[in-house]
Structures are given as C-alpha cells and as structure tokens.
Symmetry: C2
Subunit: 516 residues, 2 copies
C-alpha cells in the first residue's frame, strides 16, 4: 500500500507506530496509509523558522515569482491531481477542478500581488504623519515580516486550495510554512508538496508537510510564529486555548462553522433571471463538494407566500442530482469524505428535524450509481422546511456539513430577514437576491457586522455573478463569532496576519529612507 510520507527538515520521513488508513469514500477501499508518530516536531518547526531569512532576503516580486512557479507546477499536474481528488476525496471532476484550480489560481493571484508590490521587503501602511509641533518629527507605519514559522492546519474538504491559499499568503509575506492537511483526504496535498519539492518550486525549507497528527508541534510555538486553522469550532477553541499559544500570545486565525444564508427579496418574480440565479446558486452551494464547503448555503430565507414555490423549484433541481461514484462522468454529486462525516451528517439532519420538517431526501435512503458504491459514504441531498423558526433552533445553531439546507420564511422585510440571518451568530458569507435597492441596502448593513462577506445577486448581474460559495483571493474570507473570528485572503489584507505592524518615529527623511 502507498505510504504517505511527511516532508520535514528538508527530507521525506515516515512515522512509526500505528498508521491511519486513507480510503476511497465511494467504495470504502483503502488507498494509502500514513503516520507522523515519532517525527521530531520541535526540530521541524526550528528548521522551518531557519528558512525564514532566505525567504525574506527575496523581494516581494521575487517571492511573487516563486508563487508563480508553484502555481504553474500545480497546473501542469492538474489531471493527475483531479484524479486523486476523485479517488481519495469523493469529488466529482467539477468539484476537483474547483479545488485544484482554486489552488493554482490563488497562488497566481498572490504572484501578481508580489509583482505589484515590487522590489521592497517592507509594506508601508499609510502616510507618514507629523508628530508634535516641530516640522521634522514624523511617525510612519509599516508591515514587516514576522520571523517565525506559520503552522497551517487544514480541513479535509479542500486538500489543494486549503493548502495553497494559506501558503500563498504566508510565503509572500516571507514566513515559511508547516502545513498539515486533514489526513482522510491528504493524498492531493501530499502530491502537491511532492511536485513542488521535486521541481524545486519553493525556496529551500519554506514548505514542510505533516502526513498525520501534529503531535507536540503546537507546544513549541512562540511569539513570532502564527497558527492558522480551518475546521470545527470546537477544535478551533482548543487550539486557541493551547498552552503555548496563550503563554506567548501566538497569533491564531480560525475559520470554523458557518450557517451561511441565502435570502430571496420580496420583489423577485418566479421565472425571472434573478429567480433562476437564486435557485441555481442555492442548489450549487448545497451540493457542490457534497455540501462539504465552509461557504455552503445552509439556510434559505424566502418571503412568506413563496415557500411552496421555492420548495418545488429546489426539489425539482435536487431530484436531478445524480449521486454516485464520481469516477463516472454522469455523476453530479459524490459521497461524503469519510464514514464519520456520514454519521455526523445523519445525526445533524436528525437535529434539524427537531425544528424543521424534511421535504426532500432521506438521510438513510440513497441509490448511488457505480461499482462498489454499497460500501461508500453516500447521502441524498436533503431539504428541510422550518415553519416558525426561533433564534435558538438547531437551524440557527448547528452546522450540518453535507448537502443539507433548510428553507425558512420571513415577512418580506429586510429587518426580519436580517434578524433571522444574525441568529446564526457569525458567518463566512451570506447572500441576498433582489433588485430593490432599499431592501438590499438595509439588509446588507444589518447583517454586515456578522459576516466576512456579503454577496448581492441582482438582475443586472444574473449572467456574470460568481456564486457566494466561491472564495476569491481578492476578497476577505472569514467571519466573526461562530465562524471563528478569522480573516484570510483579501489581497494584501491577508498579509497582515503574517506580519507585524510597527510605527517608526523620528526624523522624517530617516524614517522614510528606512521604509523605502
């Protein structure tokens, strides 16, 4: 069997002890195994930190060029990576492209940013300001690279994009990366790192990879290191409360649960382009990646009186979804990624059923197509309806990480819609579909403090809109409260996490020459 190695201290290494088995979630077949037990995590972290000066000797532009080489290396192996994602991730070809092209695309976007930032190594922050009464004394702010390592702990759903989107920003900021994907779907991440190492795409030591658990790695973090995590709220809280993290004020970024909402405005007529956009976005963001997307739509709010119409339209579209082994071209939704995921989603649906009734799909009934699928982790798309939602209902408090959404009516006012959306207590993204500008403005401003991103669907945009579930490198990704309180990407905004903002105070000419 294929044994996945870790890449630590500049060498591929196999752990000792009990190995974890990776499977094909469509068939339950074992496809690889891995262990990181016994590997020296302290040495690995120190090795990563020691690669920092070399990386930071490069200018923004040179680091950008490095990201370009990484992006191209991944793109050159696109078909192979898509194949691995289908096999180890249960991805359809389209799901896999979303992940793999998201990886190369985000690296390319940060490559462009590096070129734009040019030959310097420091990032000025605003204008110099005069201090005091004398005409010489000035203060200026700048972002400077942290001198530690970035530890990235990623989720199982995006083994390519998750690795690349975090690494792109850290590496451009001049901080070496130790990346740890969720083990269940790690073949894609592993292959990416192997490609990058084999092709010498990264600066030496700038990218390390853990195939398995981090063991005691996080106990060795210090005040110049950072920790970025994507996954559950519970694990996020655990990492944020870690002993070293607290003792050394280690920066932690968490992307966690999010009950993303889509709201249909009261003005949108059945059959209109905007109505189609809304239905299409909901179905895509429910079923893409089998609903295992932190930006997937979990709550669908429609004006009272339109529940039946929307229920009918969504059900029609969900009925057309072909569940099965995504190695078959006609399959449009693959399995969940793991057996545990299947259990969790079934349990989650039962929880939602305490406050909503199921109107499409059954968590225990599905007929996947393709060979060997009887041992796969398949589930049907599931739609529920909540008739009289309360803020404390499971629909507002529990994220079911699968192809599951709940339809909820509201009274047609922006305030009521916003109040229901806010009951999710912090999300990555919510969306509103309406051409009523006053409605849209009220809604967006009322939900904005609870979100990292809000998308607006309007008739003018129907032909060119990007669905809310698609994370773009130019815009921030993250959200307050339940969503973990983190922020990633957003162009140069994402660099801040890996840098220290410093004020420099003194003679103007001197301050400016230091920051040039």
């Amino acid at each position: 069997m294929n044994t996945m190695e870790s890449y630590l201290e500049g060498k591929w290494r196999i752990g000792t002890g009990k190995r974890t088995t990776l499977v094909n979630p469509s068939t339950g077949e074992a496809v690889a195994e891995a262990s990181s037990e016994g590997l020296d995590m302290k040495a690995a972290l120190e090795f990563a930190r020691a690669a920092g000066p070399g990386l930071r000797a490069k200018s923004w532009k040179e680091r950008g060029e490095m990201l370009r080489v990484m992006s191209r290396a991944i793109h050159a192996h696109r078909d192979e990576l898509i194949g691995l994602a289908i096999m180890n991730g249960g991805n359809t070809r389209s799901d896999a492209k979303f992940d793999v092209d998201g990886a190369s695309g985000t690296l390319a976007a940060y490559a462009d940013l590096g070129v734009e930032l040019g030959d310097a190594r420091v990032l000025p922050d605003g204008e110099a300001v005069q201090l005091g009464r004398g005409a010489r004394l000035f203060g200026a702010h700048a972002w400077v690279s942290r001198q530690g390592a970035a530890v990235h702990v990623n989720a199982f759903n995006f083994p390519a994009w998750g690795l690349a989107e975090k690494a792109a920003v850290a590496l451009l900021a001049g901080v070496p990366v130790v990346t740890k994907p969720a083990i269940s779907t790690a073949l894609v991440s592993h292959r990416i790192v192997k490609i990058l190492v084999d092709e010498g795409a990264c600066a030496p030591g700038a990218l390390s990879f853990i195939a398995g658990s981090t063991h005691d790695l996080l106990d060795h973090l210090d005040g110049q290191d950072v920790l970025a995590f994507t996954g559950s709220s519970d694990t996020g809280a655990l990492l944020r409360g870690g002993k070293s993290v607290l003792a050394h004020s280690v920066r932690v970024n968490v992307e966690a649960d999010s009950l993303n909402a889509a709201v249909l405005g009261p003005d949108v007529e059945d059959g209109s382009d905007l109505f189609h956009l809304f239905i299409g976005d909901v179905v895509r963001d429910m079923t893409q990646k089998t609903g295992q997307k932190c930006t997937a739509i979990r709550r669908v709010y429609v004006p009272r009186g339109k529940e039946e119409l929307v229920e009918e339209r969504l059900s029609e579209r969900l009925a057309a979804i072909k569940v099965g082994n995504p190695s078959l071209d006609e399959v449009t939704m693959g399995p969940l990624a793991t057996e545990q995921q299947l259990k969790d989603v079934r349990r989650g649906v039962a929880r939602l059923e305490t406050c909503a009734r199921r109107v499409f799909g059954d968590p225990n009934v599905v007929s996947p197509i393709g060979e060997g699928t009887s041992r796969g982790f398949f589930i049907s798309p599931i739609l529920l309806v909540s008739d009289s939602p309360e803020p404390t209902d499971a629909v507002h408090t529990h994220e079911v990480f699968g192809p599951v959404a709940t339809l909820i009516s509201y009274d047609g006012s922006a305030d009521a819609a916003a109040a229901l959306v806010r009951a999710g207590w912090g999300g990555l993204v919510s969306s509103v579909y309406s051409d009523d500008k006053a409605f849209v403005k009220s809604f967006v401003l009322a939900v904005a403090p609870f979100h990292g991103r809000v998308t607006i669907g309007s008739s003018k945009m129907a032909g060119q809109a990007i669905p809310p579930g698609t994370v773009l490198p130019q815009l921030v990704h993250g959200g307050p409260g339940r969503a973990g309180g983190g922020e990633e990407l957003g162009g140069r905004r994402g660099l801040a996490f890996y840098m220290q903002r410093v004020a420099i105070q003194g003679d103007r000419a001197l301050v400016e020459s230091i920051l040039a």
Copy 2:
C-alpha cells in the same frame, strides 16, 4: 469613608460584601473603599449592548463631537483630577498631568478623526476591485461597527489615560464601553466617569463603570463583544483563555509586559546633544510614574567601552531625583502605587541581581521626604549593570515594574544590539540614538518584527523629540509576544478592533451606494 460606586445600567450602585480599601500610597492612609459584589454583571453587559443602536445612529462626526465634549469635561476638571492622582496614585504633579492630559488629548485626537471621517457610519477599506471578466461585478471592503459591547480592563498606572484611550476608540467606532480600572488607583477613573455622567457628555448608556471586580461579566461575552486588557501577561493569558472568549471567538486585545530597550549608537559622543537626549530619555522613562509605565525603559544598551561613562551620567541624574510625598512640590518621584507593587519590585530587583550587579540605589533603602511617608510604598531608583548578558537572563525575561533599569554593553554593531533587544521576545517600544544612518536602518529593521513602535533619536531631533515612553494617539501602541500581541490607537487603525471588516460583492453601483 468615601465609597466608590459602580455605574451600571445607567445608575450608580454600591456592591455588597467585603469592600476593598484604597489608600494614599505615600502615607498608607485609607482614602476610599469599594465593592462590586452582588451587582448584576449580565444585566450590565446587556444594558451596554442595548445602548449600541443609539450610539451608532450618530455619524462619525457626531461621535467625534461627543468625544470632544468628553475631552473638554475632563480638561475642565484637570486640577481636581491631578489632586486625586497625587493622593490615590502617588503621582507627582508632572506624572498626574501626563495621565490626565493624555486622557483629554487622546479624546481630542479621536474627536478630530471623527470630524475627518464625516457624515458616514461605515469606513471604506480600499478601492472596489473588479471580479471576474464582466465589467459590472465588483467587490469592495468596509469596516462596520460591531453590535456588542467593549469590556475594558485597565491597569493601575494610568487611571485617566487608560480609561480614555480605550474608550475614545471604542466610542468613535460605535461600541458602548464597560470600563473597569484596577481598584487600587481607581479614584481618578471614578471621578472622570462621574464628571462625564453628570455633564451628560456621553450618549446614554455608552459608558458603564465597575468599581471592583468584574465577577462573572466575562462569562457573558459573545461574538459581537470585544475585550481589551492592559496588565500582566499572566492575567492576559487567563482572559484570552476564558471559556466564553474561546467558545464565541471573542476578540481580545492584550497589552502586557514589555522589556523596552534604549540603544546608544557607537557614534554618539559624550557631551553631544544626542548623548544628552539619550541620558534624559532614559532617566525620564525610568522614573516617570515611578517606573510604573508599560513603555518605561528597562534595558539600556551601550557600546562596549562606554558602560562606565553612561553608568556615571545616569547615576548622577538618578542621585538628583527627590523621592517623597508628591504633595510636596520639590518631590520628583513618588511612591509605588501599592504595597504589593513594592514587594514585587523588591523581588524583581533580587531576580535581576542573579545576572547583574546593582550600581545605583538599594531596594530596601530610601529616605522619602514629606509627612507620613514612613508608611508609604517608596523605593529608590535602581540601576544595574549586566557584564555578560545571556538571552535567558532575567534582564531579558522579567519585567520589574518600577524605577529600575539594567545597563548592558554590546559590541557596537547593529546586529548584536538587535539580537540582545530581541531577547526580550516582543515589546511595546524600543529606541535607538544614533546619527549613523546605516546603523539605524539595520537596527530598526532587525527589531521591528518584535515591536509595536521603534523611535529614533538623532542630533537633528534633539530639540523636539518625544520620548519613547510617550504613547501618541496617531501611532499604534502594542507589541507581539511578551507584550501581549495587541494593538491600540494608531489613528484610524485602532478602530478595526471594534469593527468587522466585510467584503461586499455585486453590481458596482449598488455596492458603492451601500458603502456611501
């Protein structure tokens, strides 16, 4: 005896149970008492949050005008507040002015910023960017006010400025404040809140005040609230690891210990203006507020060969310090703020003496002038010299929060100076004194990732420099690692902590109209 009340839910309230006694640290006399036991902290927090919509209905400019009224109200009671600071804080008149004028000055600076930001309520963040290929789809970022309350837990050393600098930023950002000063010196904070309440300076409910412990307040924080703390690293870690903080990803800002360094460049000659500036800054930032300043200079690095000269000059200046009851005009350094502080500083000096030898002052010998001072918490200024410093020495790891600094030599190179400064593992501010531009540039860039602020003293600036220990509202205040990883002030930068950055995605005209 004067009983300090808390101002919660819009009323002055006295707690039950055992009261804490506040004393005059120059004489040990009791001056007031307080307890917040039995007060309903959950209700107080909810009341503060409920004041948010009223505050946020005001524009930037209107909130700025409110800060102006607050600033003026404090300034109008300047003499009274200075008197309280001398009596309850052991401040000299000059120390007290630094605190009280810092409070009104910071409020005034944020009042100006509010006026500058104008009639809007949202703060745009950068330009809108085109997304995708169509010419209409854009994304823009903006900061929007959080909808919770800001809990401010302040240190004993700045009962006026600490309250005001945090409140100015939170209130301008539209977030109501619950402020809790350290009880030992809280008379000044209490009086300020009383003045502001009596004069109706704040929006209703926008400022609450706890005279005593926060009890279960922090257990009720949620994802829209924020917690800002100034104090010890240990307490900072405790707050950051609090159950509600972790469960709801509550934003926490910590300003903690900091072993601020001052570095003399190899080019600076005895007797020069720059040498005088250096000596003056070190003495001021050692002894102002009896060294109880988070930005005080704790470590003094001088090129090898100049140790004796600097030791001599500093000792001369320290010998001229008049320790005593600051109600006497001739006194230039008052007592420490509490008996506990006196114990801690004596213990801290003993710790420093494990790696450095004492060359000026004795922690157990002092002859304060003024009546009743035999029961006061006085200490002499203390200078130590470390001949062969190691990075793990107490001088690099332990902050003694009093008029105590250690003189350390380095080989005259910027790299060596920076390496020693970095051994403090993160500070609020460090300073360098040199006219050698190459030396300054190397040093500043090498220490910048470990600091929130770096100040440069040069001959040109000698007449108009602001000492490193003075925090300015225009520049960020905070630092990574040991310093707590926080960031306050910095003009509009400080607003970010109280706001959520959100990306809005859609038709360009619509996105721009929402953010207008």
